[in-house]
């Protein structure tokens, strides 16, 4: 990461959101949101239910089209790009309501994650051996490595659907990592996990960050957020109400009001 491009990206932020607006009919889910995610950070996006966190993630990953504003990733404007092109640029994600390829094996799920980093097309598929076989082997090996990384190698030949909830989340993370994303969006990765699973997740998130992957995560588990985040953005009613380090945000009166739904006395 020493290219001039990367250095510039670190300075201006890997992901720059400016004046982002997303409406659903008469409801403005995200309203003039500004946010910067610096390269290398674990950045948490928090806020009460319905504050526009998942909508923001869906706009970044191209599943929703913004009604205004801009989202720039490493200098590339994302507006108007389809989801698959955004994934190819280096943004991976997981989903709040897990979206695995349920009937396929765990290994195949992660191999599919390699899609944007591999090339074999319809024509290549017809000729076994040579480049096709090499790529297939490399894809399989890389998927196995990633499954070992999330500690799921033993489950590789089971169907994804048959795994326990916590493990399914880890498969999703491994699938996203397979594309070698520079920015990984995690939508409530700890939802539905027991304390032991959450602890393991914290360790995993730190190891992912050590790989040089920037993380933007939505999470309701404040313990996790305060433990892993370098920076936190707080949303309420689709608007940015605070941004800063964990301690700074925790002290912010607006944040306390938004979370507790009234004045400080209410606490």
């Amino acid at each position: 990461m020493t290219t001039p491009d990367a250095a510039a990206a670190a300075e201006r932020g890997l992901l720059e959101i400016r004046g982002l607006v997303k409406r659903f009919g008469g409801v403005t889910a995200v309203n003039a949101l500004d946010m910067t995610v610096r390269a290398g950070d674990v950045h948490a996006l928090i806020g009460p239910n319905g504050s526009g966190k998942t909508t923001t993630l869906n706009v970044i990953s191209g599943l929703y089209r913004a009604d205004g504003g801009s989202v720039a990733f490493d200098g590339h404007e994302l507006a108007g790009r389809p989801a698959h092109a955004i994934a190819a640029l280096g943004i991976g994600r997981t989903f709040q309501n897990i979206r695995l390829f349920g009937e396929l094996s765990v290994l195949e799920n992660v191999m599919i994650g390699r899609h944007v980093r591999t090339k074999t097309g319809f024509l290549g598929a017809l000729f076994p051996g040579g480049a096709t076989a090499r790529e297939e082997r490399a894809t399989r090996d890389r998927a196995r490595e990633l499954l070992a990384f999330v500690r799921l190698d033993a489950a590789r030949s089971q169907t994804a659907r048959s795994l326990p909830y916590g493990d399914q989340r880890r498969v999703e993370i491994a699938r996203a990592l397979a594309a070698e994303p520079r920015l990984l969006l995690l939508d409530e990765p700890a939802a539905g996990m027991n304390p032991a699973e959450t602890d393991a997740l914290v360790v995993l998130l730190r190891r992912i960050r050590e790989l040089g992957t920037t993380l933007l995560l939505i999470e309701h588990d404040m313990n996790l957020v305060m433990t892993v985040s370098d920076r936190i953005t707080v949303l309420n009613f689709g608007q940015h109400i605070a941004e800063g380090g964990p301690a700074e945000v925790a002290r912010n009166p607006d944040v306390i009001t938004a979370y507790l739904g009234g004045t400080l006395d209410a606490a």
Binding site: R99, L100, E108, M111, R114, H115, F122, A125, L126, A176
Partner: protein, 328 residues
């Protein structure tokens, strides 16, 4: 793995011996037709089984292939082989033109759009008399020739169809087991996740539709050069439904299932023939029972039977639950 390859070779050799053993022209006709249908159904398998996109227009692409091949050989006097390649290409091209707008639709809307296209295609075959000769049908289509051999008779044509079925199965298998097939299955399993993983879902769906069209086009051409006569009523909506049922009965995401379904449903009416006029009722009931009790088709049934066989005798229900609890 080696045992499976060996079993496959034994099976292919056994099938190849059929014309040597069976001398009934009628049975051989059924074999040839079943093989041709198997190709159409494998194409539908790539689209519906692998990719999860519904089409009820396979009969239309089958017809386009048949008439393209028929017209090129009778009106332009082309030899059969280039006509066959053109038939395949023509069906693929039409599939591209139809698939491009239609595959932005999904589920029921896609199914409806393909039904509409299928009906239009059949009306064109009936009414475009200059080319298709309308309801009177197209006659005098030649048999294929390789060097000194003319494949006039069913016992020789059988081998052309066998080679085509094997080639189509090979292509489908290669697609299924490499990057492209995984992308198709990802779209079937969860399209949003597939797109977020970097798969251009629309493009892959269109390509799968084109493959389905090309398979049907090849099959149509194979039919034209064996029956030597084409009539538009063979390419109806009903026929598309039959292809769909063949795929589902066989096992939709399995290549062997597609072939098995086509062969089984082609021969089933013959088995039921002694029932005379009530046969269609029994046939319908048999299909319904198969779909209800074998949601993953015959191949799914075989797989679960084999899994049970491997575990030994089926354990009593209580024991199975206990074993599962222990494993968890």
């Amino acid at each position: 793995m080696n045992r499976r390859v060996l079993a496959l070779i034994v099976l292919i050799v056994a099938v190849a011996l059929i014309p040597a053993v069976v001398h009934s022209d009628y049975i051989l006709t059924l074999c040839v037709t079943a093989g041709i249908y198997a190709i159409v159904v494998m194409g539908l398998g790539i689209l519906l089984g692998f990719t999860g996109q519904m089409s009820l227009a396979q009969a239309a692409f089958f017809g386009i292939g048949a008439y393209t091949s028929g017209w090129l050989t009778t009106h332009l006097g082309w030899p059969v082989w280039p006509a066959m390649a053109c038939a395949m290409a023509m069906s693929a091209l039409v599939a591209l033109a139809v698939g491009y707008p239609c595959l932005r639709l999904s589920g029921h809307y896609l199914a409806l759009a393909t039904i509409g296209f299928g009906i239009i295609a059949q009306l064109v075959l009936i009414n475009w008399k200059d080319v298709t000769n309308g309801s009177d049908g197209m006659t005098g289509i030649p048999a294929p020739v390789i060097g000194p051999w003319t494949f006039e008779h069913y016992n020789s044509y059988f081998y052309i169809v066998l080679v085509a079925v094997l080639a189509c199965a090979y292509v489908a298998w290669r697609i299924k087991t490499t990057r492209v097939g995984r992308a198709l299955e990802a779209i079937r399993e969860n399209e949003i996740a597939a797109r977020a993983t970097g798969i251009d879902a629309t493009r892959y769906k269109i390509i799968a539709f084109v493959f389905a069209g090309a398979y049907a086009g090849l099959a149509g051409s194979l039919l034209a050069h064996t029956t030597k006569f084409l009539s538009p009523d063979s390419y109806s909506f009903d026929q598309s439904v039959v292809f769909l049922v063949m795929l589902i009965v066989g096992g939709s995401s399995s290549i062997g299932g597609a072939i098995l379904g086509a062969v089984l449903l082609e021969f089933l009416p013959e088995v039921l023939r002694p029932l005379k006029s009530s046969y269609i009722m029994v046939y319908g009931a048999a299909v319904v029972v198969m779909i209800i009790f074998m949601p993953r088709g015959l191949v799914g049934l075989f797989e679960s039977l084999r899994a049970r066989w491997r575990r030994g005798a089926p354990p009593p229900l209580g024991a199975a639950a206990a074993a599962e609890a222990e494993a968890a």
